[in-house]
């Protein structure tokens, strides 16, 4: 079965966007990828079977693209939200709006993903909920060489208990370092 991966770009000071969700240079590596980053992106495109995100992240994505077909992730997406919305489908891309919580979204994502991995792609709020619930198995951070100063911090509100990680991969690319960690379960 696939793994649940928290996958986000992050500044050295821990921010995943500006105060209002702005890019603040954290995605330069993605939109203009160096060869090693291209390989990381390809791995996500082919290795993921479903994506979970919050409504804010969905809205940002929607604002920045002209059409649903511009989304390179041809797979099921599950948006965790309070506001019901009809499912949107175009070819292999779908957006299902899940109003009954993060566990429901994950259940549905697992069914859709089959053997492939599931990415939690943002925003900070959704990521924190999955982390706090102990539902994240791997963390992949695209670490950008910048101190943003202010914005949405990824690792706020995750609870006070120490969580051990194991570094499983470090890819030194141009303008970004791709870090992968396995979340060590507390009973290991």
């Amino acid at each position: 079965m696939g793994k649940v991966i928290l996958d986000m770009a992050m500044s050295l000071d821990g921010f995943i966007s500006g105060v209002n969700g702005e890019d603040v240079g954290l995605y330069n590596w993605y939109f203009d990828p160096a060869p090693k980053s291209e390989a990381v992106i390809q791995e996500l495109l082919t290795g993921l079977g479903a994506i979970i995100m919050g409504k804010g992240a969905y809205n940002t994505g929607e604002e920045e693209t002209d059409s649903i077909d511009d989304n390179p992730y041809k797979m099921a997406h599950f948006i965790v939200t309070h506001d019901p919305h009809e499912k949107i489908v175009s070819g292999a891309i779908s957006y299902t709006f899940v109003t009954d919580g993060i566990e429901s979204a994950l259940q549905q994502a697992k069914v859709a993903a089959g053997d492939k991995d599931i990415a939690i792609a943002g925003g900070a709020d959704i990521a924190q909920q999955y982390l706090a619930a102990g539902l994240v198995e791997e963390i992949q951070l695209h670490l950008a060489p910048i101190l943003v100063g202010k914005g949405k911090r990824l690792f706020d509100n995750i609870g006070g208990a120490l969580v051990e990680l194991e570094s499983t991969r470090v890819i030194d690319s141009s303008g970004v370092t791709h870090l992968k960690y396995r979340v060590v379960k507390s009973d290991e």
Binding site: L12, D13, P145
Partner: protein, 190 residues
């Protein structure tokens, strides 16, 4: 010329000391976990990196809170650093132990004095978080050497704080993978 280098260990969630810092627990709750890579059977790479930090420093800078709250009594009256250390504190602060110099006329003065002592070697800023933030804001740090520890501490003292500084660009100039830690070096782009 001498560079001012921030060199410390940080959790993946940006924390450099746990909650409840005290002289008995200078790194706070679970804080020693941040230094396992140094003190719990360090491998060759980690030993080399530690030695590099020590031998490249000609002077050390430490903030008042770090010195007085956490370390004053913990150091047993002896400077544990490999070089003369400067404590930046307000006028009227309590005296400091041998090997330390108290600087009460500001950060710029402390940096100047530290550089004079350091000669060709670096000035090692070992913390704390508040002094680091002030020095970043004042554009006084040349490099960041961050030993990134694969843990989420959840709560504690954040290196990069809540202050809401202006954005600062960095250039990664070093990356060493090791066991239990990933060593990053960044140049502050000025």
């Amino acid at each position: 010329m001498s560079k001012v280098v921030l060199d410390l260990s940080m959790s993946l969630d940006g924390i450099v000391a746990g909650t409840d810092i005290s002289p008995e627990q200078p790194l706070g709750k679970d804080g020693e976990r941040l230094h396992y890579w140094m003190f719990e059977n360090p491998n060759e790479t980690n030993t080399r990196i530690m030695e590099e930090t020590a031998t490249s420093a000609g002077a050390v800078l430490v903030g008042a809170r770090t010195y007085y709250d956490a370390i004053n009594t913990g150091w047993n009256g002896v400077n544990p650093f490999p070089a003369p250390a400067f404590v930046i504190a307000k006028a009227g602060s309590a005296s400091v132990v041998k090997g330390f110099t108290l600087v009460t006329d500001g950060i710029a003065s402390a940096v100047q004095q530290a550089k004079a002592v350091a000669g060709d070697k670096n000035v090692w800023l070992m913390g704390g978080a508040r002094l680091t933030q002030q020095m970043l804001q004042a554009n006084l740090i040349d490099e960041l050497h961050i030993h990134l520890v694969p843990i989420l501490m959840g709560d504690g003292l954040r290196l990069f704080g809540e202050a809401g500084m202006d954005a600062i660009d960095l250039e990664q100039i070093g990356l060493v993978e090791s066991v239990g830690v990933t060593h990053f070096k960044y140049r502050v782009v000025k």
